[in-house]
């Protein structure tokens, strides 16, 4: 029988090891798996590479991981939101490495990893500082940059609803990076506001369960 439901958030994050690359869904405050991140802070794994659009704000979420010194590197598009105090502190103290990736390239690199592609050419960032050192190519008279797939060991995902097969749907703009990160990690962990008793309607599924390893309930909405 297929049943991806686990007892709680702590059980869900237990496999995350020191030095792991961890994708974390969300954009702004929408779709961030706060419950799983709190559980990861409590779990204690360190030396993490965090792949996410932002680098946390305030004392919550990725900020808490940075505050507790668990993060060795951040790969993101926009680390500097008002209130990203813990990222800024760790960055200025050179305690955390930073790789900046344009947002669409970040999404596409993650998708390439999840889809088994070896890389792609994108026009984004051609001729800019973010393309320095990268392979470029002229295609039909236009400049493109070669970008590599970006996989991860784990993905922490926030869903609106999940069933025991791991099928997921999302709420409003909380969808963002969650479906694509679910595809790209070797071990995808989901917090769902609702864990359904029965199956999700097949047409309503956004992320098919094949991409999901475990599901824990976390009913709090930010």
């Amino acid at each position: 029988m297929i049943d991806k439901r686990v007892a709680d958030l702590a059980a869900a994050v237990a496999p995350i090891h020191d030095g792991a690359a961890v994708m974390i869904g969300g954009f702004g405050s929408a779709g961030i798996p706060y419950g799983l991140i709190d559980a990861l802070v409590a779990h204690g794994a360190g030396g993490l590479t965090i792949i996410s659009n932002n680098a946390g704000a305030g004392e919550e979420g990725i900020s808490a991981l940075l505050r507790e010194g668990r993060v060795a590197k951040v790969i993101c598009s926009y680390p500097r939101t008002p209130g990203s105090i813990w990222f800024e502190r760790r960055y200025e103290a050179k305690e955390v490495d930073l790789e900046i990736v344009p947002q669409g390239t970040l999404a596409e690199r993650i998708r390439a990893a999840g889809s088994g592609l070896g890389g792609f050419f994108t026009p984004t960032a051609y001729g800019t500082r973010l393309a320095e050192g990268k392979e470029t190519r002229m295609i039909d008279g236009r400049g493109y940059v070669f970008e590599q797939p970006l996989p991860a060991d784990f993905a922490l995902i926030r869903a609106e609803a999940a069933d025991r097969w791991g099928n997921l749907r999302f709420h409003a703009t909380a969808r963002n990076f969650n479906p694509v990160m679910a595809m790209a990690a070797r071990h995808t962990i989901v917090e769902a506001r609702q864990v359904l008793d029965g199956p999700m309607e097949p047409e309503a599924v956004v992320t098919p369960g094949i991409f999901v390893k475990s599901v824990a309930r976390y009913a709090v909405r930010p």
């Binding site: 926009y78 200025e92 669409g104 500082r129 703009t173 909405r221």
Partner: protein, 211 residues
């Protein structure tokens, strides 16, 4: 010189958003444009975080904390809205499906180069977001900004000195002093803000303007 208010510049730009357009508005001044689009035009605003058809701020008590725009502001849906994920959102941008993007700028060069994501101050960590994807994909990039910096130095230049966001991407610039097109021959004046002379505007611009 007589400078338009930020709202008046946004109002001027809004006149150029046609009925039925698909538009991405950047954070800050660009975001104000939506409120000035003339009545009777149906415009679909895209926000990079996965919503086409961005509606106004919610009424008190009706906010959905997971329904936000790219600046993290609470928004609503409108009739015809659709939600989608990030790969789809940036496919819309890079694939040329949007009609117009309205962005702010630190600098615009006469060849259309845009600098709007990083300064020369290395103390700050860099942050790029979706700007580089927008500028390569959206056919009309409209810049809305003050004509000069606070210290009076020009933002419209022969060549950008700040790190570039994109090469040759700007279509038109709306400032508190003028509207300028970027052409193969450099900046070309479209119109002056009321009460200013061509010479006034040229004098605070770091590149030649064709009248």
């Amino acid at each position: 010189m007589i400078r338009l208010s930020d709202d008046d510049v946004a109002r001027r730009l809004a006149r150029d958003i046609p009925d039925g357009a698909y538009v991405n508005l950047g954070i800050g001044m660009p975001n104000r444009v939506a409120s000035f689009v003339p009545e009777g035009r149906e415009v679909m605003y895209q926000t990079e975080n996965g919503l086409l058809g961005v509606g106004p701020a919610p009424d008190a008590g009706m906010a959905d904390p997971e329904l936000i725009d790219a600046s993290k502001k609470l928004v609503t849906t409108i009739p015809g809205s659709a939600f989608f994920d990030h790969p789809t959102s940036f496919g819309m941008m890079r694939g040329g499906h949007l009609d117009i993007a309205v962005l702010g700028a630190y600098q615009v060069a006469e060849n259309g180069d845009l600098a709007n994501w990083a300064t020369l101050d290395d103390n700050y960590p860099p942050a790029v977001g979706g700007a580089m994807d927008l500028v390569v994909g959206v056919p009309r990039i409209y810049i809305i900004m003050r004509h000069v910096n606070r210290d009076g130095s020009p933002k419209l230049l022969e060549k950008c000195t700040y790190p570039l966001t994109g090469l040759g991407v700007v279509s038109r610039v709306y400032t508190d002093l003028a509207v300028l097109d970027v052409t193969a021959d450099g900046f070309r004046l479209v119109e002056l803000a009321p009460g200013n002379s061509f010479e006034d505007v040229q004098s605070v611009t770091g590149a030649r303007i064709a009248a």
